[in-house]
Amino acid sequence: MNAVIIFIVVLVLTIFLVPFLNVKWKGIVLLTAIAINTMISGNIAILTLIGQTFDYALSGSWSTGPIHLHIDALSGWFMLIINFVFLTGGFYGFSYMKAYRNQKSNLSIHAIAFILCYSALISLSVIQNSMVFLIAWEIMALSAFLLVIFEHEKVMTIKAGINYLIQSHISIVFLMLGFIWMAYRTGSYDFSAISAYTASHNSANSLVLFICFFIGFAIKAGFVPFHSWLPYAHPAAPSHISGIMSGVIIKIGIFGILRMLMIINTDYTYVGYFILVISGFSGLYGVMLAILQHNLKKLLAYHSIENIGIIGIGIGVGCIGLGNNNLILASLGFAGALLHTLNHALFKSLLFYATGNVYQAVHTLNIEHLGGLIKKMPQTAALFLISAIAICGIPPFNGFISEFIIYTGLYQSLQDATLVSLILIIFSILGLVVIGGLALFCFTKAFGIVFLGNERSKLPEKIKEVPFIQLIPLYLITILILMIGIFPDLFMNLLLEPTGLLAGKKVISTSVFPVTTIIAMQEISWATWLFILVALLVFVIRNLVMNHRKVETLSTWGCGYSVPSSKLQYTAGSFVRTYSKLYGSILLTYRKEKEISGIFPTSGHYESHPYDKIEKWLVDKPIKAYKSLMGKFLFLQNGKLQIYILYGIIFIILTISIPLIYEKLFLFIDFLKQL
């Protein structure tokens, strides 16, 4: 109980303190507050992972009823992720925001929104009262909106922010719909009432309820086709906010889905099929569009959609396991999903922070203009490389571990499955493999074009590595990425509790994971060490041999041409050209080009703007139709005050007269009937 009170007191104190401090202290106070709250909530969260649960009951008010807080292993797992990402994100933001030091009041709002968002996320993972849950959800959505529009003087930023605001309110509408339905049926706001209700009613009912919640949470998480806000909001936000958004804010959608799976009793097999299909589609669509992007942050944003898809595949497998009463399958699916949630939070925030470093150095995110940064920013480049390999799911980093667990689950479920699920599962495997291959394609492009080769346009003269203090949070994340990659069995132990909770195993006498998976984790750990050893050995031998050989430095082979300009290099556009031709029918790219022609050729140019086909059909077209419909009534809004007063009078007359007319109408109908 004390913990909750201290948590709220720290939050309130910080909110009131921050506006009155100078810029430097705003940051320090904010970070200290988050550190204190991290310690409080992290402490509880770690205890939940070894099997304890915590329950608090707040009295609440007449409108909410008693507020029940319940902290179990699932909340604990997400609380730890939120804490880590916000701590490193805040630390990184502290250095990153130095460039905006003169915007004092703007920074105050930013700091307040930052801690509000943090607290809202933490409370979302523990609240068991639907009314308060929605309030916290709204606080989270609004504060995230404020965080995104930090550079509100830019038109694109404010547009992206409003797009996000609208879509997150559509998400709230769906959540409200579900909660109101349940509150109406059960007369209570408590989550346990929903659980009891769905257990005692038929499963079609709860399936609809689940889908309602799923859509609400899926908009937040960015499942296709509810994703279109995400690629706008991420690039618009400052880099530490992009990292946090991608790392945890969209993950609260995943948390919501998992929580609802625990609460709602329904036919899990069908839910599993549904999630599997939508996730496979999200994963593929996300990465397919990511490849085309020229804006580095937008590329990363589409990769968030892809990774949400991978997490979803894990959840889908877990649900199929629950539906078939197959504990092994359920535990592997959910463990993969949970671990990938953590992994994605790590490598994606690292990618965004490294991108932030690049942005600070060159002030552009268009990858076609970049190149050769590895020589000027070697540490940022190395960090970007590590996270890029990790996000492709390649060993020896963490992405491989979670994808491996999901793969194991998928292959495990091939053994005893019905025809429908077999075909779904083989296509999920296919999807996961293609996602992996496309991710490799995308990140070799991103890393290769941004950091390697020579610069492709005139960049600022002095590009230098960011100060070391700004790199510290990045290194912290890297350590964790390596730890998960090298000691996966350690993290599997941490996953025992939350997975057991989801897979529905209450007794923790034995491990929820099959022995073969545990052994596989240990073997992977050994293999990783062996790999590092082999690579080091080969490298040392190579260097020893090379010491005795003549080593020269000359220009790159240019087919006999000795003075190639940097414009001759491959660009991102040319790297993906074959791909975009291949998938031309699925993708949508707007091109503008002017060919060079004539005897005395003038300058030509070529532009391409990748666009989202789903967004075009699902968002743009309906809005256009709606606008044209509403346009028909434009004559009503003519700007003349007299006419507006007339509308008012007409309105009043109508409100008074309609009931009267109605009554008369009835009399008339009665009269007709008597005839």
Binding site: L422, I426, T444, G448, I519, A527, T556
Partner: protein, 301 residues
């Protein structure tokens, strides 16, 4: 451990046999079987030239590429004897560790800033992406058929009983062979002997590598082919005792090398734009195997 030694031995001769076959098919005498290895040893003795555009990525990439092949080699079993690394789902590790090598070879090509190498990198990234699904579906089908999910268990439990399973084995060999061709950048996807940068895929990526690094890359290539040969061998010879299995292994590897040589002698490389279609067709064949397996295991009813 046995598989490692045998694969290395097979790797020494494999490329030599391919080159010799091609020479004989085109009416020449051709170099000795050990010529590729002699080339590598010569490269190890040479100095290097590095491009001034390159960074440390270019220095470490050949090492990591080579090590990834070594790791993949350790996973492959030999008959009933396990690979050094063997666990449930080890074929996933196999594919992904190969991907690590690929990642580094692609970015090291981009590191030179050459447009040729960028082109090769783009093609390599795209083509290998299409080959992997076929491999995973094949392994999935075999996992259903046998009920296991590690290389060694799958191969040793694989019994070729009915006619359908012969068909499956034939198709599986085809898929594995083609995956090997794609992974090793051979005909019909890529022509290692082409001499125009514009038409190369793998060769153009290593244009700027020289000396020891080039030697590592070439050695890795020889081993990679032998690794896939070993996989095909395992498909047929699960539980045969060693005195038959070892000669059989070399026979299959040699047969495969001759086959590759013959394909490269009598076939032209596909047009670049047809490559993608071809590789997608490979996935379809793999799906065919999958449905065949469903038929055999009675899941269709």
């Amino acid at each position: 451990m046995l598989s490692v030694i045998l694969i290395i031995l097979a790797g020494i001769f494999f490329t030599g046999i391919v080159i010799r076959t091609k020479s004989i098919a085109s009416g020449r005498k051709g170099p000795g079987l050990l010529q590729p290895i002699k080339d590598v040893i010569r490269l190890f003795k040479k100095g290097s030239v590095y491009s001034e555009t390159t960074s440390f990525i270019f220095q470490i990439a050949p090492t990591i590429y080579f090590s990834s092949i070594i790791m993949a080699m350790l996973v492959v079993p030999f008959g009933q004897s396990k690979g050094l690394i063997s666990f449930n789902g080890d074929f996933i590790f196999f594919a992904y560790v190969l991907a690590l090598g690929k990642f580094f070879s692609i970015i090291s090509a981009l590191d030179t800033g050459s447009s040729f190498e960028g082109m090769g990198a783009s093609r390599e990234a795209l083509y290998s992406m299409f080959a992997e699904p076929a491999f995973f579906i094949l392994m999935g089908s075999l996992a259903i058929l046998t009920g296991f999910s590690s290389f060694q268990e799958i191969f040793s439990a694989l019994h070729l009983g009915s006619y359908v399973s012969y068909a499956i084995a034939t198709l599986a060999t085809f898929v594995l062979l083609m995956v090997a061709m794609v992974e090793n950048s051979r005909m019909p996807i890529d022509d290692p002997k082409t001499h125009l940068e514009l038409t190369m895929v793998h060769e153009v990526m290593i244009l700027d590598n020289s000396g020891f690094d080039l030697g590592l890359i070439l050695t890795a290539g020889y081993l990679k082919f032998a690794i896939f040969g070993a996989l095909i061998f395992n498909l047929f010879v699960g539980m045969v005792s060693y005195q038959y299995a070892i000669p059989l292994f070399f026979a299959i590897e040699a047969f495969m090398a001759v086959l590759v040589g013959l394909i490269e002698s009598f076939m032209a490389r596909f047009r670049m734009s047809h490559n993608a279609q071809f590789i997608v067709a490979l996935t379809s064949v793999a799906l065919l195997i999958f449905f065949g397996v469903l038929l055999v295991s009675g899941k269709f009813l």
